[in-house]
Symmetry: C3
């Protein structure tokens, strides 16, 4: 694996899950792997779980992580080839990325979509420019389109909590939010579910919130949440803004907030969310503080997800 | 010791002082204690000495410190149980804290009082919410009410600089400032002095600046600064805002600025201040640049104070 | 070497270059030198390359770097002796610096000129106050007047790329920019060239952009860029604001942007720039993306420059 931006970069999802679970059982088993190597963590957007879990994962592998808060430190990069830089950008990615490539062995980048142009966001031009110009492996810490470290943690969590021989029923359900939210987590979860192929998977959201086919492919979609939730083993709750009316909030839909009542016909359903979340807007307290919630174990698994991916990158350079 | 928020969390103050002084003599003697463990340093408010000294103390113990600037990175947490989070807060402490608890072995938190409501500040609800929900030991790096790592450093400094068999006379004297300042350092110094019990201790401040009995208990108080300073061995200088007219500055009182003249009847008095300080407002240059000042040794002792507390926490998990 | 602020602090430039190149060949050869020591990196102004390269250099020497973003964290220091601090500054350098001196073994400081008063900037009062009050060696990460770690990296790069027995011709050429830029890199490059003395060196800039004689001494200066560039082996491109009309931009001079056409009579010329740079304003894409560019190797050499200086400081305490 030379880069980790989308599930398409992964040869063997199950091996990556398995390795993550092995690190969970023995976090220092590959402590020597990254010795003397350096990993850069560049944040164009803020992060708590992703930053911490990746720092910890890197250190578990003996790597030395260095954090760069490009966003808050106002490092305005230019991405347009041929630009005459007489405006607000202070450095071109063509000049900056190769230097990061010389300082680090692996580069991790977080960047959010602007939600202004679907074409621009789906091109994922920021992280792809780092890949093109840095000359070292690049790991997405969430980009304009996907959040693959989250999806791998999702799968580690699901496989830990489902031991039956049948396929689990997994539902990705849209939840209300007060502002326009990127599609990354939903896109990624869906494309990983499809690529993994070991679940009975359905996406449910109000009409107008269908995901982009680029990521959701032919995943089953319904706007009848109740039907979707019936018999679910795992319910992944997440808000996202509209794709067709790009980046817009089409209505509040408070009835989509997940409560115990919604799960009356899914007695075994475990509930997941990538966090951060708006309590009593996306999900009710009763679920979050009750036995269905997998939120803390899921966030904890972000460490093992990151460690599995960094390890794979280090081995395959 | 499972938490370190107030002097009430400490079983044996003298043992903690002694251990701090042992680390000062041999800073790496417990280098193996924290090996493979992680400590999170979360700042809701800025910090220089506290951050650096705690990072260094952690590393001396072989621990890996990770800093989170929750304040500047705008991570707006919700603390109200049952809140419908459709406003400005983005994550609930009930969801965030357990994850920090899973990433770290020890969590350090700095948070300031708002100085708007005495009741709210004295409840110390932010740091207490971390204690309640993180599931790991929590160390205060200054909270809404107290600054115990400072007080322990104060005591390390006092015991280093006083070898006589009699009790030292220690005076906490209010000093002028240009804006409303929290009570934490004064509260803490007073409650540690009372709990330690080995000093002849007096608090002096203008009328209206009496400390909260919650922390100051039955400490001797006088508004006659000159009498209080007479024969002092240690003079701790600090501004705080009013408690009775909560968070207010009741007047400038420039005559309370500590100068050599104020110490004319305290020839041996050493002067302390937690820093940062306003020169020639709180304390005069002549004192700060003269032989009475213990400010640099005191700030240096912040390392040994933190190291003693972290060590105690690690041993008693 | 007790401090590294200007070339005047260096006894043997060639030894420092040689040591830098040795670290490039074997970066961990002095891994034990800094073991158990601490280096503080204090930034009053933002930094990418300087921060990363110094962190990496420190770690290569076994040192533990701790970064302080004094600028973004709004730590307003007072530098005026005798100040009555009833304004916006919160701590005096006389109080802050000795504490940093007690926490660290080496202190690195970055601070920019304000470009308001030549006298104030040339006094370099911020970094000199740290030297005066910290009591430990201070390394400039760029100050109000100079950027010596950059100049040492420049010389490492030049010596790597020039094997002939004759003196290389080295040209420092002014380039357009859209806003007023400090003189530090140009000052430093010039004073290092003069002190090194092994090049045929010329500075070229439009009239009004002559450098300060404090740094440029009797360096050859011409406003005829074409003549200066003729036969050049190395062309260092950099903008700076006026010195005589202090801190001002005297005109755009777009014809000074370096392009291939400018180098028609310098076929072997390699091009350098300290970065960040404004593409197609200071330098053309054709040069930056062509074989003349030494920009990435130069920025990479910042690691070895910093490592050589820190190592020298550690050995000579």
């Amino acid at each position: 694996m030379k880069q980790f931006i989308t599930v398409k970069d992964v040869k063997d999802i199950d091996a990556l899950i398995r390795q993550g679970r092995e690190y969970k059982a023995n976090r220092l088993k590959d402590e020597a792997l990254g010795r003397g190597k350096r990993i850069g963590l560049m944040f164009f957007n803020p992060s708590m779980r992703t930053r911490l879990s990746t720092q910890i994962a890197a250190k578990n592998l003996g790597l030395d992580p260095i954090v760069l808060n490009a966003g808050t430190e106002g490092w305005a990069l230019e991405f347009q080839d041929g630009a005459v830089m007489n405006g607000t950008t202070v450095e071109h990615i063509r000049d900056a990325a190769p230097i990061l490539g010389s300082y680090f062995d692996v580069l991790c980048v977080r960047t959010f979509p602007k939600l202004a142009s679907r074409e621009e966001d789906e091109s994922d031009h920021v992280i792809r420019a780092f890949i093109r110009h840095a000359g070292i492996p690049v790991i997405s810490l969430e980009s304009a389109t996907c959040h693959p470290l989250q999806s791998l943690a999702d799968l580690i969590t699901i496989t830990e909590h489902f031991q039956e021989s049948r396929k689990p029923k997994i539902v990705l359900t849209w939840a209300p939010h007060i502002k326009p939210i990127p599609h990354c987590v939903a896109n990624s979860f869906t494309e990983w579910m499809l690529a993994w192929g070991k679940a009975d998977f359905v996406v449910t959201a109000p009409k107008g919130y269908e995901l982009s086919p680029t990521f959701a492919g032919d995943a089953t979609f319904t706007d009848r949440q109740n039907e979707a939730l019936e018999g679910a083993d795992f319910v992944y709750v997440k808000n996202w803004s509209s794709v067709s009316e790009y980046g817009k909030v089409l209505g509040q839909h408070p009835e989509w907030m997940l409560t115990e009542k919604h799960l009356s016909r899914a007695p075994k359903a475990k509930v997941m969310h990538c966090l951060p979340l708006r309590r009593n807007v996306e999900l009710s307290d009763e679920i979050l503080d009750g036995p269905r919630s997998l939120l803390t174990p899921l966030a904890t698994n972000r460490v093992w997800s990151a460690q599995s991916v960094i390890s794979e990158i280090l081995r395959n350079r």
